[in-house]
């Protein structure tokens, strides 16, 4: 019988929630890396026992952790657990947390500043890894989306990281500006039908696409409209919160923007709004049903200044029509006095026959639905604030 493993990153550690295919009884493992912020955990689609984790701290900076046994044990890639320190003072390893921006002349245009909140130019400074996206074909290849925004790749299981400088070095880089949460590259979407194509999104720069494996990037923000920036239709400057794609229909993208839920049917070249009858179109998460490419999920949040559900009612909204027509899903979710948020990487779907949907809240609850959102139940309800949720479907 199939199993699922839910990977939960929180403000104070990582948790792994496991169940069989019924998704009724859960084992809870954790906290792993207790006391650290776990921005994201994600397993390799090629080798599900290979899990990458971003562990961060305001005191000690960035750590990358890796498990090769499904989360039972962890190590820093290149650390002495797999490679002893060189005797006699030779070069030591332990550089898996080394994220250094590419400033070489060979990369084209060394880029050292971006736009600060007040419009002045500000140095690019590494802060943390927001998102880890393992390759669809190679368990040793993984992408990292970082703050200040840039895309890095490791080809050796997370030990050494190198920037893909074409993104930051594109003409628009100096115009990127941080959102309230920082200038983070938070979404990385790989196209399973085209290994040269991927999509990324940055707050608050917008969405970008590469068609040549990451060498060059194109802003794909045509159709986005953001009232809070001087030019609402600018090429960049849009606060994209998350992007989702159905793997069997990679030309169709869904986006939860700061305000507005958007859709593109041409791989991001053009976007149109699909907020339709949502009670508010502000929010962070968006995801797609694993078997139904036109079924999508969002969690509407009241506004950009009040990050909690409308009327204290936690409601997932589902559209079965690819947007515009939305229905609230409330069974099992609190419908009074609920003032949590659901952050951008905190929703995921499994690939069982009856699609499971999962999301975590800043109140520490992780909710699961084993029937595509019709009914919900908390797996856990007292974790630290949830930063990210991913799910693995295991044989």
């Amino acid at each position: 019988m199939s199993k699922v493993r839910v990977l939960v990153g929180t403000k104070k550690g990582a948790f792994i929630l496991s169940s069989d295919g019924k998704r009724e009884k859960w084992d809870v493992s954790g906290p792993h890396f207790a006391g650290w912020e776990i921005y994201h955990m994600k397993g390799s689609p090629v080798d599900p026992n290979r899990i990458y984790t971003s562990q961060t701290s305001g005191w000690f900076g960035q750590i990358i952790q890796r498990s090769d046994d499904g989360g039972k044990t962890w190590h820093q890639p290149g650390s002495p657990t797999e490679q002893a320190p060189a005797p006699g003072g030779g070069p030591a390893s332990g550089v898996s947390n080394k994220f250094v921006y590419d400033t070489s002349e060979q990369s084209g245009k060394p880029l050292t500043t971006h736009q600060w909140y007040d419009g002045t130019q500000h140095p690019w400074e590494f802060k943390r890894v927001w998102h880890l996206e393992p390759s669809l074909t190679d368990p040793n290849t993984v992408y990292a989306g970082i703050e200040d925004a840039a895309l890095f790749r490791s080809n050796d299981g997370g030990q050494a990281w190198h920037e893909l400088p074409g993104l930051r070095g594109s003409d628009t880089g100096p115009r990127w500006q941080p959102g309230a949460g920082g200038m983070c590259l938070h979404s990385i979407v790989l196209d399973p039908s085209n290994p040269k194509r991927m999509f990324i999104a940055i707050s608050a720069a917008g969405a970008f696409r590469t068609d040549d494996g990451g060498k060059s990037w194109k802003p794909i923000n045509q159709g986005l409209r953001s009232q809070y920036i001087p030019d609402p239709n600018a090429e960049v400057g849009h606060c994209v919160h998350h992007i989702a794609m159905h793997p069997k229909r990679p030309g169709v993208l869904f986006m939860q923007k700061h305000w507005d839920v958007m859709r593109s049917d041409d791989a991001g070249d053009n976007w149109h709004e699909i907020s339709g009858n949502l009670p508010t179109d502000f929010g962070f998460v968006i995801d797609v049903h694993v078997h139904e490419p036109e079924t999508i999920y969002v969690v509407p949040i009241k506004s950009d200044s009040e990050h909690f559900p409308l009327e204290g009612k936690l409601r997932v909204y589902r559209s079965r029509t690819g947007g515009n027509e939305w229905e609230p899903l409330t069974k099992g979710l609190p419908q009074s006095d609920c003032y949590v948020n659901v952050l951008r990487d905190a929703m995921a779907v499994d690939s069982l026959d009856s699609c499971g949907v999962y999301f975590g809240t800043t109140g520490g609850q992780v909710y699961a639905s084993a029937d595509a959102g019709d009914n919900w139940a908390p797996i856990v309800r007292d974790l630290p604030a949830v930063l990210s949720v991913e799910v693995q479907t295991l044989p």
């Binding site: 701290s57 005191w59 650390s79 003072g89 332990g94 080394k98």
Partner: protein, 98 residues
């Protein structure tokens, strides 16, 4: 032999439970003891000092014999109390709570 006291989270990362000790060849300085620490425990690289600049991370401080050495030059020699192992070199979080 130089004794080094680490914050709890760094002890966890280094997989040690108490103080650690390091050996420094030649004159022991603030910088060389950190070099030796990172050599012995490479998983700590980048957690105390920035990888590129080797600047102390903003929320960490260094103490030597009850004196704040956070802003001292890396080449400053450590006193005998530290190099003899009588007193530990302290690396502490700059914020006590939170």
């Amino acid at each position: 032999m130089i004794r080094v006291e680490l914050p709890q989270h760094l002890r966890t990362l280094a997989r040690v439970s108490g103080e650690v000790t390091v050996e420094v060849n030649g004159q022991a300085t603030l910088g060389s003891v950190l070099d030796a620490l990172e050599q012995a425990y490479p998983m700590l690289r980048g957690t105390i000092r920035d990888h590129g600049t080797l600047q102390r991370r903003a929320f960490l401080r260094f103490f030597v014999c009850a004196e704040d050495w956070s802003h001292e030059a890396p080449g400053k020699p450590l006193p005998d109390e530290i190099t003899s192992g009588k007193e530990p070199f302290l690396i502490v979080g700059a914020i006590a709570g939170g």
